[in-house]
């Protein structure tokens, strides 16, 4: 089955998935926090759009709810909470200096190739048109992981964490046409609680080290004598 035989609506799903991947790269290299939050919100909106398009193209009615949930949670609520936190922490103008931005981008490209390699045996199965997106969703998950490693700023790390969750939502839509409702609600609830807790932690971290640069959280090491 090649691309040209797909109906236009299904081609759009692939395009949206590709843009989700691109936004992951954007998040990875975006140094301004507010811009990164916006990129994250767009990524959430695109995943909601993918879900909606899959729902329309595949006549999967339960996905409408899923799309709505994703849109409300990932494109509105969480970005709004992050936005508010950033304003309350007075980080609107914060820009981070990335060490080795080109290297990190190339590592992310390598992760995309790796995800494809992992997923190839799976997508060889008989599957609907969304099969190719499984690799993209794994790549989004892994790039979120890379962002957690490459970034020192706590808010940026949270964005990485949340974009991992975005990748998981995308995986659920593309591989399985949506998880059962109870699981989907449970996952959404966990993500929301996690976001609230992250908010609490931003203030705790700032109170304890006067900064949100979590690289400075380095008191706990294996052998160092603990300071009394």
């Amino acid at each position: 089955m090649s691309l040209t035989q797909l109906p236009l609506l299904e081609q759009f799903v692939l395009l949206q998935a590709a843009l989700v991947l691109f936004l992951s790269f954007g998040l990875l290299s975006q140094t301004r926090l507010l811009a990164a939050i916006h990129a994250f919100a767009w990524q959430g909106a695109l995943i909601a759009a993918v879900t909606l398009t899959v729902a329309i193209a595949g006549h999967a009615h339960h996905l409408y709810f899923s799309a709505l949930l994703t849109l409300a949670l990932k494109a509105m609520l969480i970005p709004w909470m992050l936005h508010r936190l950033v304003r309350r922490l007075a980080l609107e103008r914060h820009t981070e200096t990335l060490s080795h931005p080109a290297l990190v981008s190339m590592a992310a490209v390598a992760l995309v190739i790796f995800s494809y390699w992992v997923v190839v045996p799976i997508v060889a199965e008989e599957l609907t048109f969304t099969r190719n997106i499984v690799a993209v969703s794994l790549a989004v998950v892994l790039i979120g992981l890379l962002m957690l490693v490459a970034r020192q700023q706590a808010v940026a790390q949270v964005l990485g964490f949340m974009s991992m969750e975005n990748g998981l939502f995308l995986a659920a839509v593309s591989a399985t046409a949506g998880m059962p409702l109870v699981v989907e609600l449970g996952v959404a609830f966990d993500v929301l609680v996690a976001m609230v807790l992250f908010g609490v932690f931003f203030f705790q971290i700032r109170d304890s080290i006067d900064s949100l640069d979590v690289d400075r959280l380095n008191r706990l090491t294996e052998t160092e004598e603990e300071t009394p």
């Binding site: 590709a18 490209v109 993209v136």
Partner: protein, 316 residues
């Protein structure tokens, strides 16, 4: 009915004939956007004629290479342009020269341009040459990866096959084309010395790249160099226009098809030129140190295009 080679020759002549017009159009739109009346769109032709008539002076420290370079640069750029289908698709030039030859010819032109910039031994020439090489060494991989993405869809590196393949498919949403388009636009901006990488209208010494290498040239040498630069911009414009929006290009050598092709490409170039002018008005030139990041973005887009072609479009 024109013969195929005659058609190729005609098209090759159309490039230098139209390139100054494109530049004039871009300048005109930019002027209008700045609330100026601007010079006539034909001004670049007048500039070239004036330069050709003027006396050509050469610095006494210059080597023969300095005199040779303008001809090599112009001819290489022109040859490169001749391989890009302008009004008709199935040209014999496409049989003998594919995208890789195109990139090679442009590389040859750039090599001589940079050598000529360094030849006289002035500071600005050397600086311009080194910057040009930095930009192009970053832009070239991005360009190659982007054209490979196109070539992988069409299973051919020949431009006219790529265009033909795209025409035969009809309207298909290809994520890889979107990324390749983004990459090629960024590469085109960098390679033809437009904002935000280089400012074509300035002689401000600290920021110039392309102008720096041409400072020592006068008369017809300068005219050739300028025309080569115009050609390069048009080449990239035609490449982007005809590969990504191929509709309208002449499929046969019949006069009607050719007239349609000419009209279509003029329209596409007019739109692209206007878009370029708008972009240059809105965006500020960035610091030279940011240029690598800009071109990394181009490379990233190109790679994403390649990957999304493999992952999303081929289908396991």
């Amino acid at each position: 009915m024109l013969s195929a080679w005659g058609m190729a020759l005609l098209q090759a002549l159309l490039y230098p004939a139209l390139a100054p017009l494109l530049i004039g159009w871009v300048r005109k739109v930019k002027a209008r956007l700045n609330n100026r009346r601007g010079a006539s769109v034909l001004q670049p032709y007048r500039d070239l004629r004036k330069l050709l008539a003027k006396e050509t002076r050469v610095a006494h420290t210059a080597s023969p290479l300095f005199r040779l370079a303008p001809y090599v640069v112009f001819v290489a750029t022109w040859l490169a342009a001749a391989t890009v289908p302008l009004v008709a698709r199935d040209l014999p030039t496409a049989q003998i020269a594919d995208i890789i030859v195109l990139v090679g010819l442009l590389g040859l032109a750039r090599f001589f341009l940079a050598l000529a910039g360094m030849d006289v031994g002035t500071a600005f020439g050397g600086m311009g040459a080194s910057r040009e090489m930095m930009v192009s060494s970053l832009a070239e991989p991005a360009m190659l990866v982007a054209v490979f993405t196109l070539a992988m869809s069409a299973h051919s590196t020949s431009l006219s096959s790529v265009i033909g393949y795209h025409l035969a498919d009809g309207f298909v949403v290809r994520p890889s084309y979107l990324f390749a388009f983004g990459a090629l636009v960024l590469v085109a901006l960098a390679e033809s010395g437009r904002i935000p990488v280089d400012n074509p209208t300035t002689h401000l010494e600290l920021t110039m790249i392309h102008e720096g290498m041409l400072l020592e040239y006068t008369g017809r040498h300068l005219a050739l160099m300028e025309l080569a630069a115009y050609l390069k911009l048009m080449l990239y414009g035609v490449l982007i226009a005809n590969v990504f929006v191929p509709w309208g290009i002449g499929q046969a050598f019949a006069p009607a098809a050719l007239a349609l092709g000419l009209g279509a490409i003029l329209l596409k170039l007019a739109v692209l030129g206007a878009a370029l002018a708008v972009g240059e008005t809105v965006v500020a030139k960035m610091r030279l140190f940011r240029a690598p990041a800009f071109l990394n973005l181009a490379l990233l887009l190109a790679l994403l295009g390649l990957l999304s072609h493999v992952i999303l479009e081929v289908g396991a």
